[in-house]
């Protein structure tokens, strides 16, 4: 037994890592209590979460749904929990949720705004998910600006059709007259013809057509728009109409033409320098003064105009960012192909610049969409305005948090999904470019 040498001949089996390093405990140690500071932060966070949830959860869930007025709510609360504090009265949402969503839009026509929204998503899909949706859908995208007003306002179908015809006429003239009279004159002729059509011919023609072939749906006045629908309407119209204006402004701002440039810069900086609420004051108080005497169209259209101008300035900046992000070589390449300014813009620059601008456009949209709540200050019935109107009903006077909570959730869901989409897009675009 003198041989005390020891040579291990077989490997020991691998030991499990210490229990404190794996599983739940390990995770907790690493992610929550990795240092004293982190431990304190964790404890503080848990405390804060508990404090908030212990107040909010009972309020949300120990609540009354089946009540037709606040006093009824209070009676039920007293009967069930012996106190009226700390319990929500969701009866108001149950009774008024349709109104909060659609405003005063006629009940039997709710399918129209819903269809308009579905079509909007369909029309946007070829742009937003260009890799998954067939580009044939672009036809719908082109037609949407005319379908949407028809669905929302109703009336005769010939109005939107005639408006669309103006574009068709202009386009046809530009395309076919170019060979005969030169591109420039064709362009001018096309624009002039379209303008003549819109201002002189379109009205009577639409009138005549609708008397011959009265196709149409029930008309709805824009005064009846309201609620969450109004916010979406205002946002979509403002962004949609401001996109072309924004492109023109962005190009103008980058242009070498000094006067054009300064007009554009002046407009953009002016709009961006003042709060939206002052522009809404202009819409509600002053726009009628600036227009020819006797002009009088309703407040929602006026607000749409001002919101469009507002978003055009921001849109111009987003598109300018897109233009600036394009490598200089693209411009030079276009020049070297002998394309003129508009050809280069149309075929090379804009398609790329707009594509990189989409995340920016989406976040502008989110911003505008949230800002539509400001119209309640000038007396329009968007969701917040409607909430005040509901509080003025004798049945619901005195109700406060429930309505705001509902509105906040509504906005959160919509804006959050849009911002997630924009993030997804940003990631996708990043891989495209590197």
């Amino acid at each position: 037994m003198s041989d005390i040498g020891f040579v291990r001949t077989e490997m020991l089996p691998e030991k499990d890592p210490p229990a404190s390093e794996v599983g739940v405990i390990g995770w907790v140690r690493h992610n929550l209590f990795s240092s004293w500071l982190n431990a304190i932060l964790t404890v503080l966070s848990i405390g804060a979460i508990y404090y908030v949830l212990s107040g909010v959860l009972p309020w949300i869930f120990q609540s009354v749904w089946n009540a037709d007025s606040l006093s009824e709510c209070r009676e039920i609360m007293k009967g069930t929990w012996e106190s009226t504090h700390g319990h929500a009265c969701w009866g108001v949402i149950r009774e008024r949720w349709l109104q909060l969503l659609f405003g005063f839009y006629p009940n039997h026509l709710y399918w129209r705004p819903i269809l308009a929204l579905v079509l909007l998503l369909a029309a946007l899909s070829p742009i937003l998910f260009s890799d998954k949706v067939s580009s044939k859908m672009l036809i719908l995208t082109t037609a949407y600006p005319f379908i949407m007003p028809f669905l929302m306002w109703g009336g005769t179908i010939w109005g939107p059709v005639c408006a669309a015809l103006g574009f068709v006429i202009g386009f046809l003239i530009i395309k076919h007259a170019a060979a005969a009279i030169g591109e420039l004159w064709a362009m001018i002729a096309g624009v002039v013809a379209a303008l003549i059509w819109w201002f002189i011919l379109a009205g009577p023609v639409a009138g005549a057509l609708s008397s011959v072939l009265p196709i149409g749906i029930e008309a709805v006045q824009s005064r009846q728009f309201g609620g969450f629908m109004l916010a979406i309407m205002l946002g979509v119209v403002a962004i949609g109409v401001s996109l072309p204006i924004g492109i023109v402004l962005a190009l103008g701002r980058q242009s070498d033409l000094i006067i054009v440039k300064y007009i554009c810069v002046g407009f953009i900086e002016f709009i961006r320098g003042v709060p939206l609420i002052t522009l809404l004051f202009v819409a509600s108080l002053l726009l009628n003064i600036f227009l020819p005497p006797g002009t009088n169209f309703d407040i929602i259209l006026r607000v749409m105009i001002m919101m469009t101008l507002f978003s055009a300035a921001y849109m111009a900046e987003v598109i300018r960012g897109g233009l600036a992000a394009l490598p200089r070589g693209q411009y030079e390449g276009a020049d070297s192909l002998g394309l003129n300014y508009w050809q280069a813009q149309r075929l090379i620059i804009m398609p790329q610049a707009l594509k990189i601008s989409i995340p920016g456009i989406v976040s502008t949209f989110i911003g505008i969409f949230k800002d539509t709540t400001l119209v309640s200050i000038i007396g329009l019935f968007d969701v917040i305005g409607l909430a005040s109107a509901i509080r003025a009903d004798t049945a619901w006077n005195g109700i406060y948090w429930e309505l705001f909570a509902f509105i906040a959730v509504l906005f959160f869901v919509v804006c959050f999904s849009m911002s997630r989409y924009s993030m997804y897009l940003e990631r996708k675009l990043k891989t495209d470019h590197r």
Binding site: T42, G273, P275, Y331, T373, C415, S419
Partner: protein, 415 residues
């Protein structure tokens, strides 16, 4: 874009205005200018005709009339017998106050949250994400209204302090009272602009304090420069911190004693606390709402800025033996700052513009005075709205000028 070699001299023809690139731009500009002036003339003409029909020609006389309403939160003296112009001026100051406080608080919270979102603590990072998403995706108007209500509900009624010894600072549901600086041997005030609506009292005590403080800091900087100089020439750095502290602290201490400086504490008298500086709940709620809302955006900017710094920088810093917090403050943040500042400017502008929603909580900013009660009472919409826009435009342009100047200063100098 396309430049052509100029053709040899030829006779000028009218069609060259359109077809020759040399002249075409001039043509377009003339047409644009003409169109613009036509549009402006059309608008102005309509305005004049309409105002004449209404019998309300543009006049600013109403600004001199008695306002008749009170403003609770104010920096300068004002009573309801002052003019509308004075009320508007106080409103403007209130706008500037909220914008200034808001920008500072939003930056502090935003940077903190942005850094915490990247924290290794899972719970904290998630909480911060929830905070950011909650604030970014709900309209600011809603937040202002909600936070106003929450602040009011969460703070105690003044009557709970009855018979209780209150400290220097009192938080009630009517606002927060903080001690006010008082001077028993005050130097008095300078009355700027006499008794005009823009009168502005500047406390001489404040000027004296600022002057002394400025001189002390100047002296302290000089001392440090001398120390640097000595270090460069001899290699030894003389200890200066005690001298520098003394230079800053002692003169101001002497001055404060000489002026008889003491703090005025709030005291419960009658319905409310008296004395101290009273920050109304409307101010606090608006401040909180605007800075929390904007901070959510700033946090995202800060996070993006930090993530934009390549990982190699962090690794290099740890290789040099810097601790994580030193890495953050010495290596990452200074570089991230360059990415952060441009979007930060536009967030400051947004905060300032959003402060116009102060009317939702009854904080009397310029929209509440000039664009609110004054406009209601006088019926001078055109004048009030135009003035309001010009004021905001002025503030916005000033902020962007200052911040752009700062941006130039910290920008990476490329050679």
């Amino acid at each position: 874009m396309s430049t052509l070699t100029d053709p040899p001299k030829e006779q000028f023809r009218l069609s060259m205005l359109l077809y020759d690139t040399r002249y075409r731009s001039a043509t377009i500009q003339v047409i644009a200018m003409f169109g613009f002036m036509l549009l402006a003339a059309w608008l102005i003409n309509n305005t004049i005709i309409n105002l004449n029909t209404l019998g309300k020609p543009v006049a600013f006389k109403f600004l001199g009339e008695t306002a008749g309403y009170d403003i609770n939160q104010r920096l300068l003296d004002y009573n309801n017998q002052d003019s509308h112009l004075r009320a508007a001026f106080l409103g403007l100051l209130n706008t500037l106050v909220i914008a200034f406080l808001g920008c500072i608080a939003a930056t502090v919270i935003g940077v903190l949250v942005g850094v915490l979102r990247l924290s290794s603590n899972w719970l904290v990072a998630r909480l911060m994400t929830i905070y950011v998403e909650m604030f970014r995706n709900v309209p600011v108007l809603l937040w202002i209204v909600l936070i106003f209500a929450i602040v009011t509900e969460a703070t105690p009624h003044p009557k709970v302090y009855r018979g209780v010894e209150t400290g220097a600072m009192v938080v009630t549901n009517r606002g927060t009272y903080i001690p006010e600086p008082l001077f028993s041997r005050s130097l008095g005030d300078i009355h700027l602009f006499g008794s005009s609506p823009l009168r502005f009292d500047v406390s001489l005590d404040l000027i004296a304090i600022l002057v002394v403080l400025g001189l002390s800091i100047f002296a302290s900087i000089k001392m440090r420069q001398r120390a640097d100089h000595i270090q460069e020439t001899t290699g030894d750095r003389p200890k200066t911190w005690h001298m520098r502290t003394a230079v800053i602290v002692l003169p101001i201490l002497v001055l404060l004693i000489a002026l008889g400086f003491h703090l005025g504490y709030p005291e419960l008298k009658g319905f409310n606390f008296q004395g101290g500086t009273h920050l109304r709940n409307s101010l606090i709620a608006l401040w909180l709402a605007l800075s929390l809302y904007t901070a959510a955006f700033i946090a995202e900017i800060v996070r993006a800025g930090i993530l934009a710094i390549s990982k190699g920088q962090t690794e290099a810093a740890s290789a040099l033996g810097l601790r994580p917090n030193r890495t953050m403050s010495l290596v990452i943040l200074p570089q991230a700052l360059r990415v952060i500042i441009p979007p930060l400017i536009s967030n400051y502008l947004n905060l300032t513009k959003n402060s116009s929603l102060a009317i939702a909580v009854g904080y009397m900013d310029i929209t509440g005075t000039l664009g609110g009660i004054t406009m209601n009472q006088t019926g001078r919409e055109l004048e009030c709205v135009l003035m309001l826009m010009l004021v905001y435009l002025g503030i916005s342009l000033t902020i962007s000028a200052i911040m752009n100047w700062y941006n130039e200063a910290v920008k990476l100098k490329e050679r």
